[in-house]
Symmetry: D2
Subunit: 142 residues, 4 copies
């Protein structure tokens, strides 16, 4: 058994890069977000904008994010992001991302997200909620 | 009588700039958006997120935007954006923006926006609506 | 004979969208930039970061950009951008972009760019330069 | 003795926010970058784009970044970012950022950056370099 990994390729664009000619750091956190949504689509077979309705949640808000920048990515590079859930807890989970440039890991990222629903006692508030086992089961491959 | 002009100063940041070392073009359209919201706040005395509720609209969605790039803006430049409504029509209006670098116009921008409310016949739809005269009156200075 | 058209599909991401749930206008100008670079790669067979060296230019800086927003693009939409040079002049050219959502044009964009090289008399300056006929010829399809 | 803290206020814009109506996570990493550059300007009295030339470095590239999202920031919020160097090492340093909304910490961020210069043996390469003591001294307040 192993964790399901989503792989997605894309190109580094001119507008992703800063005056040093490399991807501006904040862009990588956009890419991590892309990776998480497509991982969930791959695992659950549900289009990202339908995820909330399908499970009665408001979404999977981010509570923690981090990145280690090991090598630069440059304009025109074809990169691959590999994303997997590294741990499911009761109502939160971690996603690990690796961005490859030319086959080598250029950036390692991590996100902690919450399975979040409206508070029945106060719908203006959001609170974490247990992640259904039928969800977590879909992130494991035999 | 003249049109009310909103002036706002800000600094060009590292992350606004591209590998040529100058502001990436898409950023200027962000700056125009900043200019329009603060112009409306100046004219109407209403915080931008309260604008919809105050006038029974969903917002002022953009239907057209354009820019002429006359001179570059660079990392560390202090710039000023001057924004004014150049024309009010029945249910739409044009905003003209000028971005100054070192006292000279570096970018001229224009936006066409619609005064938009939910369609009473179908709340999933949005349609333009007459702009109240008490709104347009606030954009003129004696 | 017709103009070469580059078509590129991509997905609208969460981070592209604003509180109205639709793509924030400035993002479309990023997409136009993506379209232009890939059109040039298709036409000339040269990777975007190599374009400058291949032709002795510093790039193809933007001097004018515009967009008409006809219909919204939303999180999860698969969109296609179709880009073509609509006119070549001596040292500048126009690129026309159409972004399709569900088969219908949602956004029409235009860019005017310059074929720009360092000024031999003052390398700190950039000036427009005639576009080589072997370049323009590649943007026509029989 | 204490660490010099740079405080900077700004407004959350429409384009900073995502379909949940709150600041999209990647934007906070832009804000951290704003905070670091202005902290260095405050400490050293040198405009950010002049920093490299002043100290014979290529810049202060990021090797690690992280954020904890404690509370949302919304369109129209006035926020303050407080930034300080939390540790100087031989050739790298950590910057701690706190973003306040309504007086409470909404986001805590950290960056690790390197004092980086061209490698004399191979100018195409960049390597870390000892941070001059006259630099570190400026980040302490009596």
């Amino acid at each position: 058994m192993a964790n399901l990994i989503n792989r997605r390729q894309f190109t580094i664009e001119w507008g992703h890069c800063d005056p040093a000619g490399i991807v501006f750091n904040a862009r990588f956190f956009e890419f991590f977000d892309w990776g998480t949504w497509t991982l969930f689509e791959l695992a659950l077979g549900i289009k990202p904008p339908e995820l909330g309705k399908a499970f009665g949640i408001v979404g999977i808000p981010l509570v923690d994010a981090g990145a280690r920048f090991l090598a630069p990515a440059k304009f025109g590079d074809t990169v691959e992001i590999a994303s997997q859930v590294s741990e499911f807890r009761r109502s939160s989970f971690d996603v690990a991302h690796r961005i490859f440039v030319g086959g080598a890991v250029a950036v390692e990222g991590s996100e902690t997200r919450v399975w979040a629903a409206r508070d029945p006692a106060d719908p203006a508030k959001i609170r974490s909620q247990p992640i259904p086992p039928e969800v977590t089961a879909r992130f494991v491959v035999a």
